[in-house]
């Protein structure tokens, strides 16, 4: 899933400060799963905004909505009515959401309520980690099923580097050396020969370096 985290409240209060009628818009997709932007978080943020405004002596006008997804044009329709009288929208989807709202509603100011952090998964309740960098050409089978591009600090394809120590990365003892994990796993799989071949230079054109990306499925297009 896409993992995101809420921006600090003060940053959000400052963003929406000039606007009276606010809509807090959540998303039932990834950000619900990572507890950053689902219905529950919409309720909490809206309540925080109301308390803040009451404290300033203002009568708060904050509406709430949580869309099925904020990354599909058809679900944007759910916003059409509620957004009409709003001065600003605070979207707590991943950064795709506020961009969709901005693209659909020309006259509405949109703010991102989250920092979109990475593509990853949960390690335990409340702990999330990065697993994929969306390079666009998956080759993790060469590495025992683990991704050195996302999980090695240097994205080395022929690691581990000289900074690997006791299974940890040189940048921090909190960071696993994925190359140690790859090494251990290939060892168990009896595929050590994979480690003796030099992996050649990667073609990054399928990654962000090749410019903004698009996938077209002719079989699905109407």
């Amino acid at each position: 899933m896409v993992v995101a985290e809420r921006k600090p409240l003060n940053e959000l209060l400052e963003m929406v400060q000039p606007y009276k009628k606010i809509l807090v818009a959540g998303c039932k997709g990834c950000v619900t799963v990572c507890n950053a932007g689902g219905k529950k978080e919409v309720e909490i943020l809206a309540s925080e905004l109301r308390i803040a405004r009451k404290k300033e002596g203002q009568e708060p006008d904050v509406k709430e909505i949580t869309l099925e997804r904020q990354c599909d044009p058809e679900y944007m329709d759910q916003l059409t009515e509620v957004i009409k009288d709003r001065d600003a929208v605070l979207s707590i989807a991943c950064s795709v959401g506020p961009q969709y709202i901005a693209g659909r509603f020309d006259d509405k100011v949109v703010f991102p309520g989250l920092n979109t952090t990475f593509i990853g998964g949960s390690l335990e309740h409340g702990v999330f980690a990065e697993f994929c960098q969306a390079c666009g050409a998956c080759g993790i089978h060469n590495f025992g099923g683990l991704c050195p591009i996302a999980r090695c600090s240097k994205s080395l394809l022929n690691g581990p580097c000289g900074g690997s120590s006791k299974g940890k990365c040189e940048i921090s003892k909190e960071v696993d050396c994925v190359w140690q994990l790859i090494y251990d796993r290939l060892n168990r799989l009896g595929q050590m020969d994979r480690l003796t071949r030099v992996i050649p230079c990667k073609d990054w054109t399928t990654s962000r370096d090749g410019g903004p990306r698009k996938t077209i499925r002719e079989d699905l297009k109407l």
Binding site: S153, K154, S155, L156, L157, N158, G159, P160, C161, G162, G163, S164, S165, K166, G167, E170, I171, C177, Q180, Y183, D184, L195, T196, R197, V198, I199, P200, C201, W204
Partner: protein, 307 residues
Amino acid sequence: MKSGSQLEKVLTGGHFAVTGECGPPRNANPDIVRQKAAHLRGMVDSVNVTDNQTAVVRMSSLAGCLILMQEGLEPNLQMVVRDRNRIAIQSDILGAYALGVRNMLCLSGDHQKFGDHPSSKNVFDLDSMQLIQTVKKMRDDGKFINDQEIEFPPKMFIGAAANPFADPAEFRAVRLGKKVAAGVDFVQTQCIYNLDRFEKFMQQVRDMGIDEKVYILGGVTPMKSVGMANYMKNLVPGMDVPEEVINRMKGVGKKDQAKEGIAIAVETIQRLKEMKGIAGVHVMAIEWEERVPEIVEMAGLLPRPQV
């Protein structure tokens, strides 16, 4: 001859090679490089010029190399893949050769987190292994990475680093073998303080026949003080400084610690000279170039061969 460099001639001539190191200044003053050059002249066969080492901005390695050449020393251009994509890398190789550089050391480079610009984007378009392949391809095939022909190809003597003390330990020799397969001609190791562990590494290297395919130069860094020894032990990733080395430094008075550090370095060189599969030493006297002459003198490495 692959490149015709002095270092290549010394090594292929069967001599025990000695290389030195020069870290360029964090400013634009060429005289600092010249001063360091003066200490190393006649003492070593070739001088590595570091490339923004520990990710701290310094005068470029290539500029440092050029100044060394003006001073009559043969440089070894260090290049890290952290700061350049494949375009800049190949461009710098062409430029370095055009200016007379004949040796290159291919490195990943320390992560910028350690440096003075931790917020920078890292490139790592290639890794050190792929950099070796690239320099070799340019030299032997006369081609760029994209297979286009190079009309006048750069012919470099290709070096790489090896850290026998990083983990997983048993993979280190294998990875060195990979660098050899990628096309490396000589290897300079991480600073050696744990000679017993290094022996084990070399045994594995010899068992795999790697020492017959590449020239291995053992890395030696004299320690100035107990403080430096502790720093190396605790804060430099992939460094193995055994307790007995620390204790030996501690065992002498503060004013004699530098002398003791140099004695340890000389003894290390003497053991490396006797070690099968070791073709030379790489003396990295960090901001201490003025002590290199006495180290190589005491280790019996003078005069340097004229080849």
